[in-house]
């Protein structure tokens, strides 16, 4: 197998981890399987020439970069990352997996004091800025890489803007959702240049995925 992504096949960037495996399940059900991909090996590149697809595992937050830069024609990427990075790609399909939401959360009871700058801890500074700018609220963004829930507890921030799945982590830390910014799920993204050259193959795959997604729901 060549390590250089092929010109004729569809190159697909899948996020490493649980979400990527779920996403691969959809591709498999859509008829684009690649038998040895789940073999547990450490290989990162898997090709099925007969089906015309080549998958590679990438860090979830990087999938959109591979697609925007043209080395992957298609990719699977969370809406949270699409909103934060605003990559120059097409967003073809909601795959309906990895569902969660982007919420503002705070210690209860939370009362916003508009006379002070609101301190916001988040992994998503752009999303947070856009939201509060639209509301005309002056904020101080504190960019963290993890354990966001800790920030309000230590009085590092007033609120957090973060992904909420079930709300269990929030509750266990005495936090509560204040508002929801948008719903998140995994999306099928396509490169804009790739679409110009491989449209028939991309559309065919997207349609098969739509059917596989609906079946599942």
């Amino acid at each position: 197998m060549s390590m250089q992504p092929n010109q004729k096949t569809l190159n697909i960037a899948l996020p490493k981890g649980r979400l990527g495996e779920k996403a691969y399940g959809l591709f498999e059900r859509a008829g684009y399987g690649c038998p040895d991909i789940l073999s547990g090996s450490r290989k990162l590149l898997f090709e099925n020439q007969e089906k015309g697809v080549c998958y590679f595992w990438v860090k979830p937050s990087d999938a959109a970069i591979y697609v925007a830069r043209g080395v992957a024609d298609l990719g699977v990427c969370g809406k949270d990352i699409l909103m934060e990075e605003a990559p120059d790609v097409y967003e073809l399909l909601d795959l309906g997996i990895g569902r969660c939401r982007m919420d503002v959360a705070a210690r209860k009871p939370f009362v916003d004091d508009p006379s002070r700058t609101l301190r916001v801890a988040t992994k998503f500074p752009r999303v947070a800025r856009q939201h509060y700018e639209a509301a005309g609220r002056d904020i101080d963004v504190i960019k963290l890489s993890g354990s966001i829930e800790l920030a309000p507890l230590l009085n590092l921030s007033d609120v957090i803007v973060d992904i909420v799945e079930t709300g269990t982590t929030l509750r266990e830390n005495g936090l509560d959702s204040v508002e929801t910014l948008f719903d998140i799920s995994a999306r099928l993204i396509a490169g804009k240049a790739a679409f110009q050259f491989k449209q028939p193959a991309i559309v065919k795959l997207a349609e098969a995925l739509t059917a596989a997604t609906t079946e599942r729901a």
Binding site: A68, Y90, K192, F195, F197
Partner: protein, 308 residues
């Protein structure tokens, strides 16, 4: 020229080939000042790919800028009268969208300003196809029509903010997001069906135009788009021609045909242009104008065998 070809890099080779091509079609070279008054860009910020412009103050205290765009300077220089056909080859300075760092981008292009009609439009589009051929490799030219897209958007909503959101979703081919937003706003079913079609219709011009007519879309914009495609077809330039409405530009500046060019193997747009009468009007010129730019900075990424 022949004896130097081997010495030239891909970018330089393209510059000379394009210069010859445009000269053969009657486009004279237009040489401009390295610097431009910052005012020009401040007034037309939305026309630029990015808001950020490199500025400095000259000896007289005036704020100058390193040119982020060439078209605005040429429009400024146009004095009316006959059709003006110019070609240029200039560096422009823009921040990289990912890193925010400024980059120097070599750009060639043509502009055709004045009392222009279908003949001049066809000529510029044909030059766009020929430009892609000169760059080597397999090229694709994708067309859209700003008048057509804006017409359908206006039929869907009178709110400019809503139209901008809808246009952004069409630009992302985000059919799910578009359908959700239309549902939330209670947009009428026929308008929704047409916007969905704008989002998904893509590819062979005949097929796309046909699907639009079947959906009951008609009018001057559609006829113009069809005539342009047929004109290119008649000249034998239809092989890699597509229609796709996701490429639409800003309505403040473009109102007619808009187009983008791609080369196989390059992730970014290599050619971008359109009919920009609204920009002319904003700058106090009642005539029409159409043109395009070729971005040469990606060419060294094309593999050697393709360039030969």
């Amino acid at each position: 020229m022949q004896m130097f070809e081997g010495l030239l890099g891909p970018e330089e080779r393209a510059v000379y080939r394009l210069r010859r091509l445009y000269a053969e079609h009657g486009y004279s070279r237009y040489r401009m000042n390295k610097f431009e008054h910052y005012d020009l860009y401040a007034r037309n910020k939305d026309f630029l790919v990015s808001d950020s412009v490199l500025t400095f103050t000259d000896a007289g205290g005036r704020l100058l800028a390193l040119r982020p765009d060439v078209t605005l300077s040429i429009v400024k220089a146009y004095r009316g009268g006959e059709v003006m056909r110019v070609q240029y080859n200039e560096n422009v300075y823009r921040p990289d969208p990912a890193t925010g760092e400024y980059k120097e981008i070599m750009q060639s292009g043509v502009e055709c300003l004045g009392p222009i009609g279908p003949a001049e439009q066809g000529e510029v589009l044909a030059l766009a196809v020929l430009s892609l051929q000169q760059l080597g490799g397999q090229g694709v030219l994708t067309l859209s029509h700003q008048g057509l897209v804006q017409g359908l958007l206006k039929a869907a909503s009178e709110d400019g903010d809503v139209r901008r959101q809808l246009l952004a979703l069409i630009g992302q081919k985000n059919l799910g997001g578009l359908t959700d937003l239309c549902g939330k706003l209670g947009i009428q079913a026929q308008a929704v069906a047409r916007l969905r079609l704008l989002t998904t219709a893509s590819g062979d011009p005949r097929a796309v135009l046909c699907s639009l007519r079947e959906a009951g879309v008609d009018g001057a914009a559609l006829s113009e788009l069809q005539a342009l495609c047929e004109g290119l077809e008649n000249q034998g330039y239809d092989a890699n021609l597509r229609i796709d409405f996701s490429i639409g530009g800003d309505a403040t500046y473009y109102d007619g045909v808009v187009f983008k060019g791609w080369l196989q193997g390059l992730p970014g747009i290599v050619l971008s242009g359109g009919r920009y009468d609204p920009l002319m009007r904003r700058m106090g010129k009642p005539q029409g104008a159409i043109g395009f730019a070729v971005y040469l900075d990606q060419l060294d990424r094309l593999s050697e065998e393709v360039q030969a």
